[in-house]
Structures are given as C-alpha cells and as structure tokens.
C-alpha cells in the first residue's frame, strides 16, 4: 500500500553529492590544518630546550626538503579550507547575531568566535608566513629578533590560532564522532591548554633571546 | 453573503486522536475522501499521553502463557461489572490481536520478548522461552488474569499516535488542525456535517459530509482534578447531545485512577504497579493486601480507588495541604528499571514534584481519569437518533467498558473501533448520497455566528466564563466523586442547574477578536455543564453500586433493577436531561462475582 518512491530530484543539474564533498573537504582540511598547527607549535617550542635544537630541527626540515613540500602543501590546504568554509559564513549575520544574543547558548557563541578568529588568522597568519619566508632560512636568532619586536603580534596569533583550532576540531568530532561531547571537549581543552602554555613558554624564551641579542 | 468557508467531503472526522485517525485510514483505504478536524495538531492529541499500554491476548510472554480471547473477554466483562455489551466485548477481544500486529506492521516499536529466566519483584521465578523470543511481549495491568498489556517502553500512546499519524500523512489525508467543531448540522433525521471555528483566526468554517464521526476523546476536564489533558473537555459529546436527537450512554460511569500525583494530578501509570510498585499508607504499611488478598495493588481501578478512600477515612492517609494522599513506592524496582521502563514516570516526578522515585516515595491520590460514557452508538458505530453520525474512541459509548474500563483496554479500543467502525463508516458513505438543503446549513452557521456575536456584544449578560467554569469543576469534584450519596448528588444537580442558567448569560472581558481564547472557552462552557448534569443526574437516579459508580446509600449491585444502560437526551430548551434506559446485552457470561472488590469481600463473610 505504501509506495517506496523517491522524491523528485531537488536540485536538477547540480551534482547531488556536492554538499557531501564540500563537507568532507572541510573535515579533511580542518584536520590537516590542526595537525599542522599543533606540530608547528611543538616544533617552535623546541626553543625551550635550546637554540641549537631549534636550529637543527629547522636545518633538518630544510635538508630533507620537508619545508619545501610542507609549506606549499599547507598553503594549498589552507586555501581549500578557506574556500569551503566561506560558504558557512552567514550572509544574514545580523540574524545570527540576534539569535545568539537571545538564546545565550555556549556552543553557538563559540561558533561566532570561530568566524571572528578566522578573519583574524587570515590576516595575521599571512603576514607571519610572508615574514618567515622572506627571512628564510628559519633560524633561532632571526626568529628571536622578530618575536622580541612583535611579541604582541605572536601572542594574538597564538590565542586566535589555538582557539580556532581547538574549537574547530571539537566541532568536527561533535559532528562526526562516536565520542561524547563532554569527553572530547575535555580532551581538546586539555590539549589546547598544553599547547598554549608551550607557546607562551616558547614566546617567553624567544623574547629573552631576542633581548639578549642586542 | 455567507462569511464562512465551506468544505465538502465524504467523511468528516472530528478528532485526530488514535480513534479518529485510525477510522480515517479505514475510510481513505476504501477510496473515500475524508477531512479530519482537531483542536491541536494530531500528534498533540491526548492519546499520546497514554504510557501504560494496550491489551491484546497474544500469550507470548511467560506470564501471558495460556492467554486467549476468552480470558480477555471474561476480564473485560468482569471489569465492566457486567455493564458492557457482551457482543461488542467479544468482537473487540477477537480483533485486538490483529490490531496490535497491524500497528507493528506500520511501525510501532513494541517491546519484545527476551528469552531467559527472570525473578519478579515478589520473588517468583519465571522463564521466557526461546520459541517466543522477538514476539510482542506484555506487562501486568490491573484487573487482568494474564499479562497481556503490550507496550513500548514508557510511551505506548506516543508511539501509536505517531505511527498512525505517519500513515495518515502517507495517505495524504487532509487534516485541519486548530479547527474546533462547535455544532453539528442536521435536519432532525440525518447528520450533514459540522460548523467549526478556526482557532487560528476565529473564523467559521462549514463542513458538509455524507458521514460525520465524533472522535473527540473524553471529558476529564469537567472535574477539578483530572489526569486528562486540558483539551479533554467533552466538546464532542456535547455536540451530539445538543442535537436533541442523540443520547449519551452511561454518563454517570466515571473512572478515577488510583495514582494521580499530588498536587499536579499528572498520572502515574498503572505500569508502575504492574511492574511491582505498591501503595503505602502514612505508617508506610502496604495496605492493599489487607483489603484485596488476591489482586492486591492490582485490583481494578475502581476498587483500588475506593479502598484508598476507605483507608483515608480510617485515618491512614498522609496529610498534605492538598488533602490526604497515599504513597506509591517503586524504589525497590531499582534505578536501572526505573530509568528505562519507567523513565517517563521518573521524569514527571523529577520535573513536576522535585521527587526522585529511585529514592523517594511518590504522593498519589485517586483522580478523575476516564469517561466510560459517551455518544451512544450501536455495535457497528452508528449513533442512536441521527443517520450518518458515528462515534469512536473515548467519546463514544460502544459499550465495551460498562461501569469500569480496564487499564489498557481503551488504547486497544481506539484502534479496534477505528478498524471495525471505520469499515462501517466507509460502507455507509459509499452507499450514501450527499443531499442537503442550503437553508439548513445557512441556519446552522448563522446560529453559531450569533452565539459568537452575542458573547462579544455582551447582550446576554456579564457572567464570567472562568468563574462559572471553576464552580462547575468544584461541584463535580465535591459531590460527584468516588463515593456518592443521594443528597450530595441532589446538591450537585441543583448547583449545576443554576450554573447552566448563568452560562446562558456569559459576557466577555476581552475584545473577542480573532482566535480569542475567552471566546473559545465561552462557547464550550454551556455544553460542558450539560454534560456535568447528565453525569450527576444519571448518578442520582441510579440507586445501586456498579463498577466505578459507588453509592454509599446503595452499596450493592442491583441486577434485578439496574442491569441497564442510562441514555441521556437533552431536548431543546430543557433544564435537565431526559433519562431513558435500555437493557444490557448479555450473550455469554451471566452476572456474577468479579472475584475482587467489595462484593466479593462481603460474600466471603
């Protein structure tokens, strides 16, 4: 009696799987970027052990051409990420804002900051990457000089970046995951705190180093 | 010149609860066009509130072994205190197993038999066998010899209503929700449809149909303390009564549920006691076994309710600002059981009383719960007095329940009636032609428009709707409750007559524009008071005790004089219902002892 017919194709002419592909691109690019950022933070933090360790790590990445593959690759991933997530930025942002203000819901607010931090990162990170590449190769002294002069820039970027990465990956797990929100939220908050602490420590060491250089 | 919208259809179904929607499916599968009206979206109908389950003698679970339609029949007749129609009960019991399986086919996730040994809370060892594994299981309910109440965890009514509604949607049946029928259109012989008021805009709509079906549920909200949803105001029954042609059957048969939670009167399902919960008095003594050694806390509802009141009168009630109550104890069932099988109860306790039933006792008291009476129809669903009018579900008096309905028999009744009566409706509508004169329709609509205009202009008086209404609720609660006496009932009749007169002079305090809720209440009230009068006056006249109708001045059942059904008519302009009586159909089981309750206790002496 009940038919099992399929509803007529909603979007004629449009690939019916396009939304899936975009979502997957968002998933993968997000994961890769977070993976990169966390690794990058750990690498940068080797300065805490010493300038030599930092330099030899940079040397190592340079020698084996890892930098030359990695940097363009991450650039590409970042580009993809930006392209796929831009569609999520609401064009009726006033409505979104009004909604968030009414229901005062935590995860909804964090998403707003996801967008805000994204815009910040887009500007600051491009400057940062540009600066690093212009001053190639990576070297503790150059870095220390930069950090000493622009520590506030790095501080802002650190917080924006870690916030964006932490909550971004949290939302990925929420959307796809088997893991309970509470559990994954706790795990990611812990990781973020560790990374930020590491970042601050490294920043402090760099600033000291930079000060000593003069 | 008409300022209303007209809709023409084959079958007009007033009410989108389980009974109405099931009947609509039947009509629609016969190729008929039907329209369902409802006060609320179908899935918000009161049927969704039923948690306990529906009875069907499937004999699948361990404690249901050996069950049969015969045993279900005997339970039903005894439960009704021989007030039911036995041919109807027979037909019903034979059809339920099919109905429950059809619901399974449509998607209800019935709880299933899990094979293995289990220990009941009373220590009894039972075993569900492998050959029955995966079939629909059953739980224990009051007044039944076997475990046969099929259920879905704690949301039987919810899953049944959602499933039935999903079929209604799949069939593309038209539903006009927030559309309240406020009068039937008839020419004295034939029902032609209904006038309805849109609860979105306040505008009138006219529905013309070959067959009209009343499926509007019960009238619990005539009482001050009721487990029913607040839309259960008996409006459909009043519609039928107001035709002057159609009688209401056994309106004095009002069921009180033993366990309404104090003071919000939300029902704690019988499943709680079926699963092993029991009642305690103020000394935390389990008193039911003292009165009912066999069925204990699971005697039929009327019996448990009366035993509780008896026990109150002996001074064993727990005092509270809301009157005396008893405790319901389910703590021993354990957190796991309570949080899965009785989750809904647990939530209700937590949200509405701040009680955790895993650790705390639940305050309960008998509360109005079910209306056995309703639009009197024959065994095929045809209303007495008007052609083309049918009734199904709680709004009807098919008479399956007599003077006491068994828990689990009303959900079962809604779908079984939907099938059986639905088919008759379809046959009738297929053979009928749509003949009506526009005068009759115009008049009916005009009359309703005048009622509304009268209220808005205040030309009939300034009586306050809510005030009169509250007095009616209190009158029924105080004088037409569980135990009844001649003088109290007389008082109720007198008071209600005064209220009925006052209800002719209602005036609004607000403007009455649009979907104004004061207009809605004012339109319903006079009909509600007439129902209250049918209940009180019928109870006053019935000088015996039977099932839920317990007269202290006539404590015995009187088969010689009262093995008959009350039919209440309301001729135009009357101030009291006109009562007539008809014999009860007895086909198989002659009147006897119920095996529980006061009659059996006294016969032992």
């Amino acid at each position: 009696m009940l038919d099992t017919g399929i509803s007529p194709q909603r979007s004629m002419g449009r690939n019916p799987r396009i939304d899936l592909y975009l979502d997957l691109a968002q998933l993968i690019s997000g994961f890769l970027l977070v993976g990169f950022l966390w690794t990058h933070m750990v690498f940068v933090a080797t300065i805490i052990i010493g300038a030599d360790t930092f330099n030899s790590l940079a040397q190592f990445l340079d020698d084996y051409y890892l930098s030359y593959v990695g940097i363009p690759f991450i650039g590409l991933v970042a580009l993809i990420h930006v392209i796929v997530v831009v569609r999520r930025i609401p064009n009726r942002y006033q409505d979104y804002w009004r909604h968030a203000r009414t229901i005062m819901h935590f995860d909804t607010w964090t998403w707003i900051f996801q967008v805000v931090t994204a815009l910040g990162i887009a500007i600051l990170a491009s400057i940062h990457v540009f600066a690093v590449i212009m001053g190639w190769p990576i070297d503790a002294d150059t870095s220390a000089a930069r950090m000493h002069a622009f520590w506030w820039f790095y501080l802002v970027l650190l917080i924006l970046g870690e916030y964006h990465a932490g909550f971004g990956i949290y939302r990925q797990f929420v959307k796809w995951g088997w893991i309970k929100r509470k559990t994954i939220g706790f795990a990611l908050k812990s990781i973020t705190v560790i990374i930020v602490a590491l970042g601050l420590a490294a920043l402090w060491v760099f600033v000291q180093l930079g000060g000593a250089l003069r | 010149m008409s300022n209303y919208q007209t809709h023409i259809t084959d079958v007009l179904i007033i009410g989108a609860g389980l009974a109405g929607e099931r009947a609509a499916i039947e009509a629609s599968s016969h190729g008929l066009d039907s329209i369902i009206l409802s006060l609320v979206p179908p899935r918000r109908s009161h049927s969704t509130a039923a948690q306990g389950g529906m009875q069907a003698s499937l004999a699948n679970c361990a404690m249901g072994k050996g069950d049969s339609t015969d045993i279900h029949f005997a339970d039903t007749v005894k439960g009704s205190d021989w007030g039911c129609e036995q041919d109807v009960a027979r037909l019903f019991c034979e059809t339920v197993p099919i109905a429950v399986r059809q619901m399974a086919y449509w998607g209800v996730p019935w709880s299933r038999v899990v094979a293995g040994k289990k220990t009941l809370p009373n220590g009894q060892e039972i075993e569900d066998t492998k050959d029955k594994e995966g079939l629909i299981t059953g739980r224990n309910f009051g007044g039944t010899a076997k475990w046969r109440t099929c259920y879905t965890a704690d949301g039987t009514g919810h899953t049944m209503q959602y499933t039935i509604d999903s079929i209604v949607i799949s069939l593309g049946i038209t539903v006009h929700d927030r559309m309240e029928a406020i009068s039937l259109i008839h020419d004295g012989e034939k029902c032609l449809g209904a006038v309805a008021r849109c609860l979105r805009t306040g505008k009138l709509n006219v529905y013309i149909a070959k067959a009209t079906v009343i499926a509007t549920g019960g009238y619990g909200r005539l009482y001050d303390a009721s487990t029913n949803a607040i839309i259960c105001e008996g409006t459909g029954m009043a519609l039928a009564l107001d035709t002057g042609q159609v009688p209401l059957g056994n309106m004095e048969a009002v069921q009180f549920h033993p366990t309404g939670m104090v003071p919000v009167w939300i029902l704690i399902t019988e499943g709680a006691r079926g699963d092993g919960g029991y009642l305690l008095d103020k000394n935390q003594h389990r008193f039911m076994p003292d009165y009912e050694p066999v069925k204990k806390d699971l005697a039929s509802r009327d019996v448990v309710s009366r035993r509780m009141i008896e026990h109150f009168r002996k001074g064993f009630g727990v005092d509270s600002p809301y009157g005396p109550h008893m405790w319901l104890d389910i703590r021993h069932l354990g957190a796991k059981h309570i949080d899965t099988n009785l989750r809904e109860i647990a939530n209700i306790c937590r949200n509405f009383a701040g009680i955790d039933p895993i650790k705390d006792l639940i305050p309960v008291r008998p509360t109005q719960h079910y209306s056995m009476g309703g639009v009197r129809i024959n065994s095929e669903g045809f209303a007495y007095g008007l052609k083309g009018l049918f009734a199904v579900g709680e709004a009807s008096c098919w008479d399956l329940h007599g003077f006491n309905r068994l828990g689990g028999n009303s959900l079962a009744e809604t779908v079984v009636m939907g099938m059986i009566v639905g088919k008759k409706i379809a046959e009738y509508a297929l053979g009928a032609t749509l003949e009506y004169t526009s005068d009759v329709v115009e008049d009916a609509a005009k009359q309703q428009q005048e009622r509304i205009d009268g209220l808005i202009s205040g030309r009939h008086g300034r009586e306050d709707v809510f005030q009169v209404r509250r007095e009616m609720e209190e009158t029924l609660m105080d004088y037409v409750g569980i135990f009844r006496t001649g003088p109290a009932l007389q008082t109720a009749v007198d008071k209600l007559q005064v209220l009925h007169e006052r209800a002719q002079h209602l005036g609004l305090r607000s403007s009455g524009v649009g979907a104004n809720p004061e207009v809605t209440a004012a339109l319903r009230l006079p009909g509600m008071i007439r129902l209250a009068l049918c209940i009180s006056y019928g109870a006053l006249q019935r000088t015996e005790s039977r099932g839920s109708h317990a007269r202290e001045d006539f404590p015995k059942r009187d088969d010689a004089n009262w093995l008959k059904r009350t039919l209440a008519y309301w001729p135009e302009g009357a101030v009291l219902p006109e009562l007539k009586y008809e014999p009860v159909t007895i086909t198989e089981l002659p009147p006897g002892d119920r095996g529980y309750g006061e009659s059996s206790a006294s016969s032992k002496k």
Partner: protein, 242 residues
C-alpha cells in the same frame, strides 16, 4: 513557601488586529508553591487578561505543545518551575515557526511538512497479513527505534538552532532525528541511496554546523549529537559508495 511577586514580560501580537504593533506587556503575579509557567499563564489569562494566547495540552511535558522562549531559551513552559527564575521573567514565542498570536506558534504545520519532506513512515512492499503472527524483532532493536521516536515535536531544537533560524529549508535536528528513527528500523526497506536523496545535502545533515543548541535545549533529552552523527556518517558512506 515563597511570597515573591513575579513580573512577567510577555510578547503580545494578534494578527487579527495588525494595526496594533507587536509589544511586550507586563503582568504581576503572586508566586505559589510549585508554580509552573502553565499555572502562571493560566492564572494570568483567567484573572487578568483573557485574550492572552498560548498553547498547553498535556501540561505534563508529553505532547510538545507549550514550547516558548523563557528568558530567551526554548523551554517547555509546562515543566518550567517559576522558582528556578528571578522575579522578572520574559516570555517570547518560538522563532522560526509562524506566529499564531502572542505566545502561540504553528509548530503543527511545520512538523507535518517535515514528515512529508522526509517521508517519515515505514516504507515496505510487504502487505499486512492479518492471519499470521507478527514479524519477530530483537527487543534491543525495538529500543533502538524507540530512542529517536521519543521526540515530541516541540520545536525547541529548531528554535535554538542558528542554522534553522537562518535557512528556511533546513530540516533541523528533529528532522534528522526522525530520519535516524527510520534508518534503524528493519521494517523500512528504503535503501541508503533513498535516504541520501532526502538528507544528503545542506538542507539535511550536511547543513548542520554542529552547534548543539538542539541537544542542549531538547526537553526530552534526546541524544541528538549521537543521532545526527549517525546520520552524517551513514550519508557520507552512502554518498561515497555511488
């Protein structure tokens, strides 16, 4: 017992009188012990303003009729106790749904459309045979179906979801949860591809940002994160298979 006087600030608008602009109206009420918003609103209507429109049916958090924004958050008014709030309580109708008047919104039409769009009924080619026993089912499966089936269509998840507030065609958590209910039902013979047609897009599961206001505001405490993630993974696999 409390002797607080509560001030309710209630949204008022009656579409029948469009000349009167929407506004907030204040009502004062003495609080009673164990008072719910249902009790409070009923008292206000009966004693102060009989024209006030709002919806209650079961008054027991079962039917899903009475959702509204209480101090901005979507809640079932019938199970919200006044004692959990300060003396100032703001009541607004749910967003997203069409306003009927004051606090009353048309969730019924929205959800019926949802059922039609997701074809939310068991699709089977089998005919019902009244002469045979029911098909067997594992009790665990029955419970698995019942879990998402518990949704009472109150609309709190829709009203709370920023995406649903912005995109009219988004099915929302209730819609995706409804689809999950049929996906786990062995009686439903629909293929993954058929489900993909329904929810494999931004209108469906890929439109969900994972904001979780749905789960946090669901009065029935449905595990919506689990249900939405289940549908998303299933749809990802279905979409990639083809």
């Amino acid at each position: 017992m409390s002797n607080r006087t509560l001030t309710f600030s209630v949204f008022r608008y009656n579409p029948a009188t469009p000349e009167i602009k929407p506004c907030m109206q204040s009502y004062q009420l003495k609080e009673a012990g164990g008072m719910t918003m249902f009790v409070a609103l009923t008292k206000i209507r009966e004693e102060q303003d009989p024209s006030l429109m709002f919806d209650f049916v079961c008054r027991a958090s079962i039917c899903g009729s009475c959702a509204m924004l209480i101090n901005g958050k979507p809640r079932l008014a019938c199970k919200t106790l006044t004692r959990d709030y300060g003396t100032k309580i703001t009541l607004m109708p749910l967003p997203v749904f069409k306003l009927i008047g004051d606090l009353s919104v048309d969730t019924g039409t929205w959800f019926r459309r949802l059922s039609v769009k997701t074809r939310a009924w068991v699709h089977t080619k089998k005919e019902f045979d009244p002469t045979v026993l029911e098909e067997r089912m594992d009790n665990a499966t029955a419970l698995e179906i019942y879990e998402p089936e518990r949704c009472i269509e109150c609309g709190c998840c829709i009203a709370g979801c920023a995406t649903a507030n912005i995109r009219e065609d988004f099915l929302g958590a209730a819609g995706l949860n409804r689809v999950a209910r049929f996906m786990v039902d062995p009686r439903d013979e629909r293929s993954e591809q058929e489900y993909f047609e329904i929810v494999g897009s931004d209108e469906g599961v890929f439109g969900c940002y994972g904001l979780m206001a749905c789960e946090d505001n669901c009065p029935t405490k449905l595990p919506l994160q689990y249900q939405l993630a289940f549908v998303r993974r299933k749809m990802a696999v279905a979409g990639l298979k083809r």
